[in-house]
Symmetry: C2
């Protein structure tokens, strides 16, 4: 039985005591958030272990990214394949994306892009970024033109992450359909290989779902086939069979389980994946961060004052109720949101460990921990805003123009 078969069963038998994780819904059975180890078992992917990390470091000759060494990117599918290609100096590419939401992204949205930029810098390979404006339109009460516009605005925030112009192609589905005949043809080819029964099993669709949702997974699958981008790979001999690595949050895995099942049928390579855990809401891992709930997240448009206030007021604390009790018992870093956020954004391991010890022992108070966090985030977001403000519409159009990308191996 293929991957698809296994996962249909795995998801169908999910019961009340299990977390629900799919691209549109994440809810955990416990207050502590999603059980990521159980998720690996259910999805049938592999944990990233120290051996894999060692290989990564020795091959690239570079210290591994903190999001990887801290277990935030924690799971994978066939990552060894990509490392083999890198070792053999054979071509591959990176593929990530986002569903354009509100005009402003929040901190959590940055995580896959920060990590993808590091992968691009490390591997020196092309990257394609899909903006699913069609998905946004299908799932939300929004006009199609508005969804398309959001994609363009979101592209500015993505570009501000520092991607290399000569190695990065950004596209909105609604526009790309028109720009590249191969993209739509791959979508239809994928739609010919997947039944309603299969998407029902993988994504939990019901008979009341609209046919646009039911057929959408093929749109997110198509960029994992290099033949969707003939202009990028036209310099290569076997441009239809360039493998890709997809960095994404683990809730996107269902799309690519499906893709991995379909790819060999279309004589294409199975994509490899590297999965991240979720970025917690200010209110804690058990609650949901939402673009429509301004106080659940720190946005990339927030002012230094807003950042400070949100963290002080809303960040769930793992500290004790009184100073005396805190000094005696210490804080709980495993649930403290300020500490969690630092694991994502404070690169210095030594400093993070010092903070962890001080907070756990009660030496450091919640207010002090929160201060470290907002002083870390304020400059980071200010710099992002500065970079973003300098990005012109012309620059966005350049990133979104189908063109030959710079390729190291071939």
């Amino acid at each position: 039985m293929g991957e698809l078969g296994e996962n249909i069963n795995n998801l169908t038998i999910a019961n009340k005591s299990e977390d629900i994780v799919n691209p549109w819904h994440v809810s955990s059975a416990s207050d502590k958030g999603v059980d990521y180890d159980k998720l690996i078992q259910r999805f049938g992917c592999s944990k990233i272990d120290s051996k894999l990390i060692d290989r990564f470091e020795s091959l690239t000759g570079k210290r591994i990214h903190h999001l990887l060494r801290r277990g935030i990117f924690y799971s994978h599918r066939d990552l060894h394949n990509i490392l083999n290609l890198y070792e053999q100096e054979k071509p591959f590419y990176l593929y990530t994306g986002r569903g354009p939401s509100s005009q402003s992204l929040h901190l959590g949205h940055l995580i896959p892009f920060i990590f993808t930029k590091w992968l691009q810098d490390t591997f020196d390979v092309p990257l394609v970024i899909q903006l699913t404006d069609d998905e946004k339109f299908l799932w939300k009460d929004i006009k199609i033109e508005e969804a398309n516009k959001l994609a363009f605005e979101n592209a500015k925030d993505i570009i501000a992450c520092g991607f290399k112009e000569d190695k990065t192609f950004i596209f909105s589905d609604l526009d790309f359909i028109r720009l590249c005949p191969e993209f739509y043809r791959n979508i239809v080819k994928i739609q010919k290989c997947v039944t309603y029964n299969q998407v029902k099993g993988i994504f939990g669709f019901t008979e009341s779902d609209v046919i646009g949702k039911i057929s959408f997974p093929a749109v997110q699958a198509a960029p994992a086939l290099s033949s969707s981008f003939p202009f990028i790979f036209s310099n290569l001999k076997s441009c239809n069979k360039v493998p890709c690595l997809i960095p994404c949050a683990i809730d996107q895995d269902p799309y690519f389980r499906m893709t991995r099942d379909v790819a060999p049928k279309l004589n294409c390579c199975k994509p490899s994946l590297i999965h991240a855990t979720f970025f917690p809401a200010l209110q804690g891992a058990g609650s949901k961060m939402s673009a429509s709930e301004v106080n659940s997240a720190i946005f990339l448009t927030d002012t230094p004052k807003q950042i400070k206030n949100k963290i002080n007021k809303y960040a769930f604390s793992g500290g004790q109720t009184t100073v005396e009790e805190h000094r005696a018992k210490g804080g709980d870093c495993t649930v403290d949101v300020a500490y969690q956020y630092l694991t994502f954004f404070l690169e210095d391991d030594e400093k993070l460990e010092t903070i962890r010890k001080a907070y756990s022992s009660g030496e450091m108070l919640t207010g002090e921990l929160k201060k470290i966090l907002f002083e870390t985030l304020q400059p980071l977001i200010l710099e992002h805003q500065e970079r973003r403000s300098k990005i012109t519409d012309e620059e966005v159009k350049l990133f979104m123009t189908p063109r030959l990308l710079n390729f190291k191996f071939g």
Copy 2:
């Protein structure tokens, strides 16, 4: 309850004693072929009566086409709306299409095009013709490039029917997606309005069907929205709300029942329809004409000799088993395929009536009737072949280029 709701029930309760009629399967419960009156009731459309025909004739000042006066185009939806627009000199357009099949079309494929050409000549309005190469790929064991090529070849046969170049736009789905962003956006908009439950009820899809099939009906619905063709209607004030009339065989009605349900939700006009009965196979109304069964149909590539032989050898006869019996009892025109074919292709009413009387009374023998048929079809098909042979690839490309069409009313 809307049209869609009613029809879901109508189709779901179809039982063994009822004909099955949908875009991919036509089979009748009786040997005499489909019961067209029952079909009208089940589908909820209206019979074309003498009053409607009279109005048609008096408005256009033209004798009605023989396919209409002989009840071959026999049913409609909101045809009065179109006649009202014509009367008020307000704009509308025609929309028809075909699923590109084998390289050669057969006689039955010509019927909607012959009638559509007459409608175009009579009303002097633009016409769009959809070639569903994507559907062909999804339903058949064929490569996507091959389906796209067939569409181009089929376009030559369609153009050979005599459509006016300045009023006709022909497109293949796979190409048009790329040529016109509005087309794909309309597809996605329609896909947002229709649930799996609805297409299951209308088309009989099951959970084992691939998601490409399940979402396809939106592709055939989209050309019924004038906003899919901004380049045709850009001269008009309300170019997004130009109504259309769809001439088609009755098995295509399910697509447009769905379209009529969706259109108002997208602030578009419900399309009007005019339905034809089916063109019978040589073996009779109870059997199926198939492009893959060479002896079931007369193809537009057949030689005069092949036409003669096929008719003499395969055309189901309503005559008696011996000459003596035939002279005594006469032939049965209601089942005789040669006579049926003449009702489609012999324009002269008087001559047809003379033949009917002579054959029914036994005065005319089957061989004589068949001779009249092949002598009618041979020049018709030869002329088609001559016209087709003169159509260049450049001419096809011109018909398939999005452009402003010539419009009488505006």
